[in-house]
Symmetry: C2
Amino acid sequence: MNVLILGGDGYLGWPTAMHLTAHGHSVAVVDNYLRRSLCREENVAPLIEVPNLHQRTALWESISGYHIPVFIGDLKKWEFVADVFRRFPPDGIIHYAEQPAAPYSMLNRQAGMLTLRNNLETTAHVIFATQQFCPNAQIVKLGTMGEYGTPNIDIEEGWLEVEHRGRQQKFLYPRQAGSLYHTTKIMDTDLLWFYVRTWGLRVTDLMQGPVYGIFTIENHGHQELYPFLNYDELFGTVLNRFIVQAVAEYPLTVYGKGGQTRGYLNIKDTLNCVRLSLEKPARKGELRIFNQFTETFSVNQLAQKVQQVARSMGFKADIASVENPRMEAEEHYYNPEHTGLMDLGLKPHYLTDEVISEMIEFANNHKEKIRSEQIYRKVRWDQNQR
Amino acid sequence: MNVLILGGDGYLGWPTAMHLTAHGHSVAVVDNYLRRSLCREENVAPLIEVPNLHQRTALWESISGYHIPVFIGDLKKWEFVADVFRRFPPDGIIHYAEQPAAPYSMLNRQAGMLTLRNNLETTAHVIFATQQFCPNAQIVKLGTMGEYGTPNIDIEEGWLEVEHRGRQQKFLYPRQAGSLYHTTKIMDTDLLWFYVRTWGLRVTDLMQGPVYGIFTIENHGHQELYPFLNYDELFGTVLNRFIVQAVAEYPLTVYGKGGQTRGYLNIKDTLNCVRLSLEKPARKGELRIFNQFTETFSVNQLAQKVQQVARSMGFKADIASVENPRMEAEEHYYNPEHTGLMDLGLKPHYLTDEVISEMIEFANNHKEKIRSEQIYRKVRWDQNQR
């Protein structure tokens, strides 16, 4: 099918583009390089340089034979959105085109407003464009497990059947997130759910946990095709960050007590989840929600896993608890459901010692590029830093 | 106390400004006349002309002696927001500054995007400004009963205690609205709740039902001080619209079966609710939610009430069921809680025959100004009208 990947330059966007072409789909990618601009502005960078989309698509075509059209532009501008949807009429739209970092969204007012505007306006435009140009196409939207926060009851897969004073109602599972970024994802879900009910759109909303890894089947042996590997506090996710910290001999920074538990997944599983969602689409008028992760770990467990493997490879890999810059429960109940994607056929890749050691080896090969001062900047979430 | 009224030109904003000054508060009003611009663009208008804010504040000062500073500008622009908060440091902020019409938000893509951008960016700026300039001030935010939609269980006052598999969690009452406008109000609540938790703001979110009436204690005898009385499908609320329709000999348009039930209140009660919320503020770190209405009626009941009074005054006042342009349940369970404001001291004004006949009399005095073609334009909510 024709698949439009919005945010095709991103950590997940580019690997998804290669993966879907390798599985027989015709893919176009859209991006405005926002992530790159923000990293430059904040003076952080991925471990290894990542070629731009024109360079990466050319390289991928030379390797695989698959051609991927590139649209560079801002999805907040309707003229651009309409032009893309007219020139590449999609059967499926994968919507990754958001400011993706929770810590960045809490940096200051400007970063917060950028996150709010970018994420909401882009989602609204995707909805309007789908309705206008391809009402039967499925929108596959990247949500986040962070939408749910850490309630004291089991987290169901998107929906909650409530019994109250002898009557029943099924609701979107009530969401309360821990950052502005995560809150924009709640708003995205609110918006999608409204238009699914009103216009009969078909939408899959993937509540994804933090992703780790950079190796996929498609980029094997081609370092220029690896995605961004950020290890800074703003754009680096926790496991990727710990790996680089271990190599840099920078103590693994656990926030507070380290009991924060989340559902994690390997980047390979993200690609399969997105592809499976695409190939077995939601029905017209259905908002289908999957909780997209394969294993849960506390931050302490992750740090200990990385420490153990890193020490076996000769690194010091100390663990240091630092004052928690976030507003979050450091010990909490966490029991999220996640059977939907398994039912679709997902075969998980778990976080083995081998997965960790491969990543450590890669980071160590680029050790001289690590800028340790990027790692921890103490962006405090409990105050507006203007 | 010093009270900043955002959206001070509106149907509720201006009456609130007069009311609060009459109760000893120091008030400033802020508006960009968005409502007036949109009405002009859509070729609809209130029944009688409404002087602008400089004219109304001058008139009110000449009558009452109370001076109300006027700030004209766009709250989507931070420079303007910061300037207002610096020049008039508030103890309380009443946030009415939103595109207020559900049908307008469903008109087309442009109207939808305007509603989304205006409402969300303004709310975010109010949050950032409060945190930066007056972190102890209370934000009194106008929400809507429409955020809840029409669930099959009782609607509680803002929160729902959920028991699930033997464990308990209190959530924001799950919301699912019937228009984009109402959905932006859900998003407002999401955003406020996040920053209340994160920054300890004090917020009262008023889930208000449709308001009717134009007469307040303060504007008695001064027609130039009456608020907008829109009777068109886009900006006119149902009871106000039925009153004008009765006078215009235009059948009262009931959408579909007319079983849609909502909580209503008199504009006098809105003013008291807002003032009471202001004078007895939420605690730091509290999001206090009130369901703000005094009586529930179905659309059929409202039409019959207006018909009965109008007929006694010699009007024909037929009722006509028209195809429902909205996507909504026309028959549904509806049992919303609303004791919080009564506990604060609200003394309700109910919808009596006298209230209706006074309004009919007023509309009849201006009968020659009614433009019947404004009343019903069939803006269908189930399709994107581009």
